[in-house]
């Protein structure tokens, strides 16, 4: 088996947020420091943490946003309504970010771009980069205590045939419900981060945490081969947590780990209709989960890729690299846009190139093109 260790290391680097980490860091620090300094929020025990794939280290390039968990330590679901705290945060953010604010069903989005960079220091550092590097957003999700966990504003289930205004109105009605569990949705994203970090520390390969690297690879596969369709990235992370903890992932090499993960995800999807995947923190079926049709489509894709990965493990260096390149696809971060780099002397068509000396020196005449 060709380990292609250098190429896999580079591929995982190409999946990372890269320079976008600087953007994310500057953006979330800007928002968090502003919110935590607001007296009207501080008085309610406001503190913020990062949640989502960014702090879990499972975000993949280009990583367009980062989530801030705005915790009101002095409030709980029985004594407050989502509308109160949502509006409090919204008004505070509007004062600083104005038109860059976009209210979301249960969060507030702040957009950043070349003209509205989150920090001068990083702009100077990356001024030669394309404008796309600077486009980023931060989502602030307000939360209050729900027992040991947290409650975030409930939302109208996605998929309903409603306009944006209708969704807003329905959401507001929901937030005014007399029943706290209708107003709020129970969650504990910080604990998900803890579980992920623990898994990454527990499962190591070549002195790297294996879980986060593999999770990023699976997310990339989803983007490339499922076109971003469900199941979403968090669902894949939960499926992988199950697989890693049940020792279904071989950790002797990166090819083996990726192949086993593709296979494990495919097999978990096969069972998902009868035995839904659970949120490992809440212990309840993942919501909103994929439909049986989406599960079936995703299962076929992951099985096919697992087969391709198995064949790649039997191939010589160049055809193996070409196969891994196709499995991980493109994301635009590397020089040629592909995640998996080609080893020396290998071509994308799988050929092992050997070369002859070139004796031509070209013409020194001036020449013009139009």
């Amino acid at each position: 088996m060709e380990l292609l260790r250098e190429q896999f290391d580079q591929a995982f680097t190409n999946l990372d947020l890269g320079v976008r980490v600087q953007v994310a860091k500057a953006a979330h620090e800007d928002v968090r420091s502003f919110l935590e300094a607001r007296p009207e929020l501080r008085v309610l025990g406001f503190k913020s943490t990062l949640i989502g794939s960014y702090p879990r280290h499972t975000a993949i390039w280009p990583g367009k946003d980062v989530d801030i968990f705005g915790k009101f330590d002095g409030l709980n679901i029985a004594t407050s309504t989502p509308g109160q705290i949502y509006d409090l945060v919204l008004h505070a953010l509007e004062q600083r970010y104005g038109e860059r604010i976009t209210p979301q069903p249960r969060s507030i989005k702040i957009s950043f771009g070349p003209g509205s960079a989150p920090g001068e220091r990083y702009l100077r550092q990356f001024e030669a980069q394309a404008a796309a590097v600077h486009e980023f957003s931060v989502d602030v999700v307000p939360a209050v205590h729900w027992g040991e966990r947290w409650g975030i504003p409930n939302r109208v289930p996605p998929g309903m045939d409603l306009s944006v205004n209708e969704i807003r109105a329905e959401t507001r009605r929901l937030w005014e419900s007399r029943h706290p569990d209708e107003r709020w949705q129970e969650t504990d994203p910080e604990q998900v981060t803890v579980l992920t970090q623990e898994a990454n520390a527990r499962h190591r390969l070549n002195s790297h945490g294996a879980f986060c690297r593999i999770a990023r690879a699976m997310k990339q596969v989803r983007v490339v081969h499922l076109g971003g369709a469900k199941p979403n990235g968090l669902y894949l992370e939960f499926a992988l947590l199950e697989a890693f903890d049940s020792v279904r992932i071989g950790l002797t090499s990166w090819p083996e780990a990726v192949r086993d993960s593709l296979h494990a995800v495919a097999c978990r999807l096969d069972e998902a209709t009868d035995s839904p995947l659970c949120d490992p923190v809440l212990g309840r079926p993942f919501e909103p989960g994929p439909t049986p049709t989406e599960i079936d489509a995703a299962s076929r894709v992951f099985h096919r890729l697992a087969d391709q990965a198995t064949r790649a493990m039997r191939e010589a260096r160049c055809p193996a690299a070409a196969a891994w390149r196709k499995i991980l696809g493109e994301n635009g971060q590397s020089a040629d846009g592909w995640v998996f780099p080609l080893p020396d002397g290998c071509a994308e068509d799988g050929r092992d190139l050997s070369a002859r000396r070139n004796v031509l020196r070209g013409s020194d005449e001036a020449r013009g093109f139009g």
């Binding site: 592909w338 080609l342 002859r356 070209g362």
Partner: protein, 674 residues
Amino acid sequence: MMSDLPDLESTEPDALERFVTELRESGFTPEDKSLRRWSGSVPRVLRELTDAATMTIVLREGWPYRPPAVEVPGLRGWHADFERACLWQQGDTSLQWLTLSGIVERIDTWAVARHRGFGQQGAALDAWAYFDAPLRGTLGIDIAELSSILPPRPEQSGNFSVQGVQPGFFRAVPGWIEPSQPRGRWFATQPPEEPPRSLDEAALLLSKTHQGQLDRQLRLIASKRRAWAVVALVWDGPYGFEVLPITLEPDGHGSHSVGLLRPTPHSCEARLLRAGPDAQLLEETRITIFGLGSVGSHLASNLANSGCRFLTMIDGDTLLPANVVRHAAPSFFEGYPKVAAMKELLENRCPWTHCEALVETPWSIPRLREHLNGANLAIDATGDGAFTQHLAKVCTDLSMPLVSVALYRGGAVARVRRQAQADHPIALRGDHWRYPVIPRDVDDDSVGLEVGCTAPINNAPPIAVVAAARLAAHAAMDLLTGRLEEPDEAIEVLRPLPEVPFDNVGRVRQDQFPPCAYLTSEARAEILKKAAAAFPNETGGILIGLPTENGEPWITEAVELESDSPSPSSYRVPPGKTQKAVDQARRIDDRLGYLGEWHSHPNATGQSRRDKQTMLTLAESPALVGSAPLLIVARRIEGRYELACSRVESTSLRKVELRSAGPLPSQSPQNAEV
């Protein structure tokens, strides 16, 4: 006034006139007004073979491409067909007969051969052709069927019945079965020096006992106690048994008239002779064929005809009226399962082939394994890409050779894939450069859906079906005989497609694949970076690299040579910069050299007329003679640059596919000259 030319329309009237003139000048005279028959002296070499002093040259329809007949009264011997010397074989294109001297020269050669003997091959010629009697029909006869002892001894004889199969076609069946059927009797003789030309000459070859039996037959015929009978002389020749079947009928005047039947063998062995030399190699061959549709049926037919002994045919479909247009089975079998129709057809035609017909469409792996158990070869002619992939994997696991055939693009392209031990697995070919992907048409191939059926009807014409079957049969025979002269994938373009390399009719060869060039990530990034930095002006430079072992350019560096007059609409390579840049690259790696040019277009326009003219001029410069310099144009589309590559070929620029490649491996000290 009589015309000077024969009453014969010829495509070469001048040659005919010259020939007739030569005949006249040589003393030949026309026998009649048609001027087709010319009498002249018999050449000296024939005088000991005939008492005749003159011979006749007969000009026949088709002259000059069909040779004239040369009739020599009383001429006897092999290779003299009813007194016509067999001078030229059918199909001879020598035109030796265009002159009288050519004819005489050929007669001399024939006479010498006649004197020395024509050898075994000559003696193997059909004896019936020399017998001077009217032809009454054809008799299917096999001595092995009639005689218990092979070869039959010269004194041996036996009875047979003459069964009418079709008007003029009879079959000899052992024994006298029904009184109403004409009777036959065969007599074994010694091989004659020359074939008998009459019943009397034939009788001379018989033993006294057999002569008596013949006389008895003749008496029965003459007395009309028997309507007609057949007497067959049999002798053992160098190429098997020679048979001369002579018919005897009452002549109405108390005697008999003599006729002739053309003998033909109808045994399994005789048919197997026509199966070709590979038939012997296929005695133990077991083939399992999946899919007995149009392609599969012709393929199965080809394999059975070629001598395959065991065919397991698997298909769940029934032969429908519309199928018979392209299917090997005739409309007689409409309503039969396709496999049952083919079993009937093949076992009847090829008695050596044992067919197993399974009416099913198996997908389960255990069932597929069961069908492949004991087979030497699996063939997939289902035309179902999903099944092909499935079967290919099963065959890989079983180490079972597989040949898969399918038609694409409405029958424009036939592809046969072989998966034998050393072949690249079919499942991996989609990703491999050696196996070009046949592009799908934007228009669907199908002509519609049958009611209640989800499978589209492929619009491939019958000729394409037969061509695909032939290609697959050829691949199968190549594998089964162990020759392995064919590549593991054969693509035949039957109608050209717009896409390269399917744009020419015939076999697609690997060297016809679209030309490609390899480009390292670093070189690509350099072009994109410099093009973006120069925006809104154009910029450019040269491509540096080296050729691969197959000759494809491998671009490892793209060097910018800044224009001395930057402009949004043009780019100029300054003089004296190119070779310096190449030399600089060589100081780091001496394998590198110049490969071509690149420049940017700050708009979406592709290669310009000026670009083309510059490249053609460049290719003619002494420094680049014999090379095909590349041109990469980076054009800006929606804010991003995209690369398009071409190369100089003759007087035009041909599109080149750019493929990514890794960096050039560093040069090992012992292999400095890679």
